[in-house]
């Protein structure tokens, strides 16, 4: 088409648009506009849904400030979730420990003072923990401290009004009269000071000990009732020149992971 033809066409198009605008202001195009709206609205609803979903998924990438805020919120939420999980795990652990202690209490009728570990001291040879109950509630030096369903972990070594120190069985100053659950019911003394393991000394040489046998308290000393689990025999040392044999024990409780314990109060 020539240049003149093109100009003529655009003049006609302009005239058509003017007519359209005029008709619109008279309201004569409402029917056509409604028809077009109805015709396309379904497609646009679909595309709008797609856009909305896309924005939900990726919209934060378009706005740096929003992205950083969202990131900070995510980090804060993640930390909060972690914190709650830790609290939840601790409560579950504490709950299980308390349930076992209640079971022990029901079985033995021994009075218990539940306590929580509030401090640890594993430096050097001194292996003790601080608990949140003291002499005001009846905690006294020499009392047995158990965990779970009657597992001996140590004895009270020092008390304050509201706190006390528990000397663990792995401490080198701790000595507990014990019995091996073998056919001879061998007696001996469990001593600490050998790292994470403990030893049972003064076992008569003529008595037979098997690896894996359970060692419990013998009840031959005050404040320590009979039948508290101490550990299992992991190794036996029976030298010909020694008057007694020794047994290396693996403690029944993990002494480094204590949280809820109970002090036994014997009448």
């Amino acid at each position: 088409m020539t240049r003149r033809g093109s100009i003529r066409l655009f003049v006609i198009l302009s005239a058509v648009f003017v007519v359209l605008i005029f008709l619109n202001y008279l309201g004569r195009l409402d029917f056509a506009k409604n028809f077009v709206s109805r015709l396309f609205s379904d497609e646009f609803v679909v595309s709008n849904d797609i856009g909305t979903n896309l924005y939900r998924e990726t919209g934060f990438l378009m706005d740096k400030k929003y992205f950083l805020e969202a990131y900070d919120k995510c980090v804060a939420k993640s930390q909060e979730v972690d914190s709650l999980k830790i609290k939840s795990d601790l409560l579950v652990e504490e709950n299980e420990g308390l349930k076992k202690l209640i079971g022990f209490r029901a079985r033995t009728k021994i009075q218990l003072i539940p306590a929580k570990i509030i401090g640890r001291n594993f430096d050097g040879m001194d292996k003790s923990v601080m608990i949140d109950q003291g002499s005001l509630v009846g905690v006294a030096v020499g009392q047995s401290v158990i965990v779970g369903d009657g597992i001996l972990v140590g004895k009270i070594s020092k008390t304050e009004d509201e706190t006390a120190f528990v000397r663990l069985i792995s401490d080198n100053q701790n000595k507990v009269a014990a019995t091996i659950l073998n056919k001879d019911r061998s007696l001996g003394v469990v001593e600490g000071g050998y790292g994470i393991s403990v030893r049972m000394n003064f076992i008569p040489r003529n008595e037979t000990i098997m690896i894996g046998e359970l060692v419990i308290t013998s009840g031959l000393e005050p404040n320590v009732p009979k039948g508290l689990a101490i550990g299992t025999v992991a190794a036996i040392e029976n030298e010909a020149y020694q008057p007694f044999q020794q047994a290396v024990l693996t403690p029944s409780a993990d002494l480094s992971k204590l949280s809820t314990i109970a002090v036994l109060v014997l009448n």
Binding site: F10, S14, F17, V36, F40, F44
Partner: protein, 190 residues
């Protein structure tokens, strides 16, 4: 009958272009990068099909756009008419050959004319009606720049693709087209 079918087909294509344009706007509503598919289609149509009769299709296109626009009726019509006239004038009278720079330049000019005209009308409408507005020239220019870049890029991409397809599927037509395009002996790219 033949003309009726042809018109129906053209109208369907127009509706499809409009649906695609509006759907793209709907899907990527949260980005400032806006691809003006309608102006891109007008540029490509004018570049490949040298028939002025196709310009009639801007009437239904403008009507569809006006129907789904919150701007007063007529603003899009005027902006689209002016930008189409510019595109037509540039491609058929000024730059008679077809190449990537020419297509890019024409698309850019079309977008600029459309956006300036439309934004000016909107601004004038607010000003004359003494309405409070949040119109920001900075934002308007940024949006226009993004729209220009995106539209130019995709128009050029589509131009290259259509050129290649035409050359493979219709080699005779492509030869005639190239001969027409380079009738002034200018450098050709595709």
């Amino acid at each position: 009958m033949k003309n009726f079918i042809k018109t129906a087909v053209y109208l369907l294509i127009t509706a499809a272009i409009f649906i695609a344009h509006y759907s793209l706007l709907n899907i990527f509503f949260f980005t400032s990068a806006e691809y003006h598919l309608i102006l891109s289609a007008i540029v490509l149509t004018t570049a490949f099909i040298r028939k002025d009769v196709l310009l009639w299709l801007i009437i239904p296109l403008a009507f569809f756009m006006e129907t789904f626009s919150s701007a007063p009726f007529g603003f899009i019509c005027l902006a689209l008419l002016l930008s189409t006239a510019t595109i037509h004038w540039l491609l058929n009278i000024i730059f008679t050959n077809r190449s990537i720079p020419i297509i890019a330049l024409t698309t850019a000019a079309g977008i600029c004319i459309y956006r300036i005209c439309f934004d000016f009308l909107i601004f004038a409408n607010w000003f004359l009606r003494d309405q409070s507005s949040v119109f920001s020239f900075g934002t308007a220019f940024f949006d226009m720049g993004m729209e220009l870049l995106i539209t130019v890029f995709f128009t050029v991409v589509f131009y290259v693709i259509i050129s290649m397809i035409t050359r493979i599927l219709f080699p005779r037509k492509a030869l005639i087209f190239e001969a027409q395009s380079n009738s002034y002996g200018q450098k050709k790219y595709f």
